[in-house]
Structures are given as structure tokens and as C-alpha cells.
Amino acid sequence: MNEQEREHVDSLIHGFLDGQLNERQQTELKRLAQHNPFIRKDLHALFRQKELLGFLPIEKAPNGLKEEVLARLERRLILSMESPRPSVRTGRFVLLVRWVSAAAAMVMLPLAILGLLVLQIVKPPEPKTVPVALTAPGQTAEPLQAGEGTASGEGPVLVLGTLTFLTEHPIPLNESIKKAVVAHKLLSSASSERFEDRAVYRIQCSQRQMLSLIQMLRPVWELSSKPQFVLAGGESPARTVVVEGIRPEQMEKLIRQSSPSRLQMTASHLERLNRRGLSDVAIRVPAEETGEGERILLPAEPRLAWEKEPTELPGGMTADGPAVVLVIEVRSPSEKK
């Protein structure tokens, strides 16, 4: 048997073992095997070898392989988020730019430090100023803490807090806020920032304008499932007050407050009120007892012990009132934290 014939026979044998032969090839192999004991022996031996390999037991994967793979995936995901891909541009020009930048930084950094030192020495000492909060007439000013801030060059302002609208209709809600800002001519004192998941408006205006703005925004409450007001506690997180489900009239009440302490107290009161629910705290007086229809009595509002003056600016005030700042945030439900 020459080499070519041997190769042909081999291909028939392996084709037979793998079930790849057609009828004609099978007949040919059968004939060859019948007449040649070597071919028969080869075929039989290879058949047995293949059979034995097929019976080798399947080794089980080690325990915990799945968990290890998933843990590795999570680790890699975290690492890929934390470390941006290094730039592949490492040509001569890029290296030169890096070298020049590093050299410039080496020169500039000591100069900047020296300049700062000189400035500290030469600069005349500034008188220490403590920003003061808005206070009711006749009261002493108190240092600014939570809920306070200063507007540069415009005197103290009362930072009300953050009003968050969780909504499935962010577009009409955002449009309403923009319209209200434009209608009150507050474009120059309002700013807005758009994030992927939310829009944030910072509005600074007089108390009267803010009241009017909130009144204009009353329909917006219908678009939000969970309006929330947060009065930040500044450096003391314990003082942070979150009023869930705040209503427009409650918001107006907060805006009318004349000082940070009043604001804090009123916000806490509203927080308790809303947390317990109106039906829990209100007392209903039937119409036959009042003689003028059903009446709902709400718990008395808190009042600072030393307060004698009205704690709330009157609804019909004639002046524009002090400056206030309100942050309005519009979020979609899935992004709400």
C-alpha cells in the first residue's frame, strides 16, 4: 500500500469513526477491511480507543466557580469605572508636551507658594464680620447658622431650603417653573442646572415675589406624587428637617417666616403634622355645633417663648420683604434617592 492509498484508507477509517461516510465510502471500507487484516485491526483498535475516550468521566467544576466569576466581574466593573483608560498616544510630541508641562509646573508651583506667603504678610488684616440673620423688628441679630446665607453685596438673605418635586411629568413641570421665573422677571437672579436625572433651579428674590411665584406654581403640585421640602441643618445634620408631602399653602407659610429660627421651627411643625397625617391631628367639629358649617381644628403652631411681635410677615404686607433663596429640584421617580 503506497502513501496515497494509506492516506485514503485513513480518511475512510476516521470518517467511519465519526459517522461521516456516505454509502459508497462505507461499502468501500467494508470491502477493504474484509480483505486486509491490517486495516481491520486498525479500524477496530481506533474504534475502541475512541470508545474509551468517550467513556472518560466528566470532571466536575470546582465549587464556588460561579460565585468567583461573578465577584471578578463586579471587581473589574468597579475598577473600569474608577480608572479611565490610559491614553495610547505616547508619541514624541505627547512626551515633549508632558515634559514641558512638568517643567512649567515645577517652576510655577514654588512661585505660587511664595506669592501666597508674600500676600499673607503684606495684606492688611480685615475686620472680622459675622453675617447676621434676618430678624423680626426689635430683635437682636443672631449669627447665621442653618438656613442662612448672604448674598454678595446685597445684605443677608434667608435660605429657605430645597423643594423637591418627584414627578413622572418632568417636562411640563420644568416648563411651569421656567414660565413662573420669566413671569416674575427673575431671570437675572435665578439659575438652573440640568443633570442627567434632574433639573435644579436656584431662585433668589424678595419674599413677596417668592410667595407669588409659589402661588403661580400651585398647579404644579398636581403633577408631583411626593413634593418634599428639605431645610438643611448646615454643620449640624441633626437639625435638617424633611417635610414630606408639603402642600403649597405650607410652602407659603414657610416663605412668610421672618427668621431662621422661625423657619426651622415652622418646618419642624409641618414635618410632624405631615408625618402623622391630617386626619390624625385634625379635630373635626360638626356643622351643628359650629352653626357655620363643619370646621377642622389643627394643632396650634409653635411659638418662640420671647416672641411678642408677629412671627409671620403679614399676608397683605406692603413692602417687598427681605430676600429669600429657594432651590427647586425636579426629579423622575426612578432617580429619587
Partner: protein, 205 residues
């Protein structure tokens, strides 16, 4: 008919798991791992001959596959695609490691059990006696001899033999996994079988 519907349902389930994994569902990814971990590990182990390396390579295969699962377009079966990654990783690993540190087949010989297993194996493979291949494959000593002979084959021959005779893949699937021509698959399988037979005969003679 029943088999066909079971196969269809399994395929649909797999498609669903792949789609969910592509959307980042780790639970679905976990189910895919469980489905293929034994077969993949077994194949890698037969190629690289070391359980620790095989476990590491199997993990790395799944991690790579799941990281790139969005690239899987369904042109081949998921199994073929996964094995392509696994086999290539294993071959690269073997190349880096250099020549496989296979022990001499004779090294473990000499004990009474191995002598007996060797005789049984020789009788079976050389068609001198009737034997039960399933029982022989379960015999630890006989199995060791076969696996060590397999480990001494050239890598490219060992891989096709594992994929064809142990894993039972078709020529077409092997060609896809190794990215080679169908004719090359056939010729490698022929050479690998003949090579293994020579090795075993040399040991068992």
C-alpha cells in the same frame, strides 16, 4: 417529538438568558455559568492537565465571555462561542507555560494496580480481549495512563481529540472554535488518533 420540543425550549431559555446577561443581569449570567461550567472545566482540564490551572482558566473564560457578551450575535451557538474563548485562552496559557510538564507515563508505573490496569488496557486497545470500556474508563489507574498519553500529544492534536472524541463536537464546530479549515480539522483528528494509539502501544506493549 418530545426531545425536539425539549431542545427548543432549552434553546429559547438559553436565548433569554443570553439577552438578560447582555442587559447586565448577573443572575442570568450565573445561570449560564452553571449550565456550562462542568463541560468547559472538563475540556480545559483535559487540554492543560492541571486542575488548578483548569479552574483558573475556566473562571477567566467566563469572565471574558460575560464581559464581551454584547459581542455575541448568535451566528454560532453560545456553547461554540464560549469554547472558542476557553480553548484559545488555554492554548495561550500552555504556550506561555512552555512545554507541558507532563510526567513520564512510565513514572507512575510499577505498582500492582497500575500493572493490572495496564494489562487490561492493553488487552482492550489491542483488541486481544473483550472488555467493558465504561468500566475501564472508571478505573483510576487505566484512566491515568490514557490521560497522561493524551497529555503527551502535541497541543494542536490534543485539542482536536478532546473536542471530538471526549466532548463530541462536530467537525464544523471544531473548525469554528479553532478558526481553522474543515480539512485541517479532519487531518488533525487523524494524526491525533494515530499519535495517541502509538503512545499507548509504546507504553502498554
Amino acid at each position: 417529538m418530545k426531545d425536539s420540543s425539549a431542545f427548543q425550549s432549552k434553546t429559547l431559555e438559553e436565548e433569554l438568558l443570553i439577552k438578560q446577561s447582555q442587559r447586565g443581569d448577573l443572575e442570568a449570567a450565573g445561570l449560564l455559568i452553571v449550565r456550562y461550567q462542568d463541560r468547559l472545566y472538563n475540556t480545559i482540564l483535559k487540554i492543560c492537565s492541571n486542575p488548578d490551572d483548569a479552574a483558573e482558566l475556566a473562571q477567566e473564560t467566563f469572565v471574558k465571555a460575560l464581559e464581551k457578551i454584547t459581542d455575541f450575535k448568535g451566528k454560532s451557538s453560545f456553547y461554540t462561542w464560549l469554547f472558542r474563548i476557553g480553548v484559545n485562552l488555554t492554548l495561550n496559557f500552555c504556550k506561555r507555560r512552555g512545554r507541558l510538564s507532563m510526567h513520564s507515563i512510565d513514572a507512575s508505573m510499577g505498582t500492582e494496580e497500575t500493572d493490572r490496569a495496564s494489562a487490561r488496557l492493553a488487552g482492550y486497545l489491542m483488541c486481544r480481549e473483550k472488555a467493558d470500556p465504561a468500566g475501564l474508563a472508571q478505573d483510576k489507574e487505566a484512566r491515568e495512563i490514557v490521560l497522561k498519553a493524551l497529555g503527551r500529544l502535541e497541543e494542536e492534536q490534543r485539542v482536536v481529540l478532546v473536542l471530538r472524541d471526549i466532548e463530541g463536537l462536530s467537525y464544523q464546530e471544531i473548525a469554528e472554535i479553532l478558526d481553522i479549515e474543515l480539512g485541517t480539522v479532519k487531518s488533525r483528528i487523524s494524526r491525533a488518533r494515530a499519535g495517541l494509539r502509538d503512545l499507548l502501544e509504546a507504553v502498554l506493549a
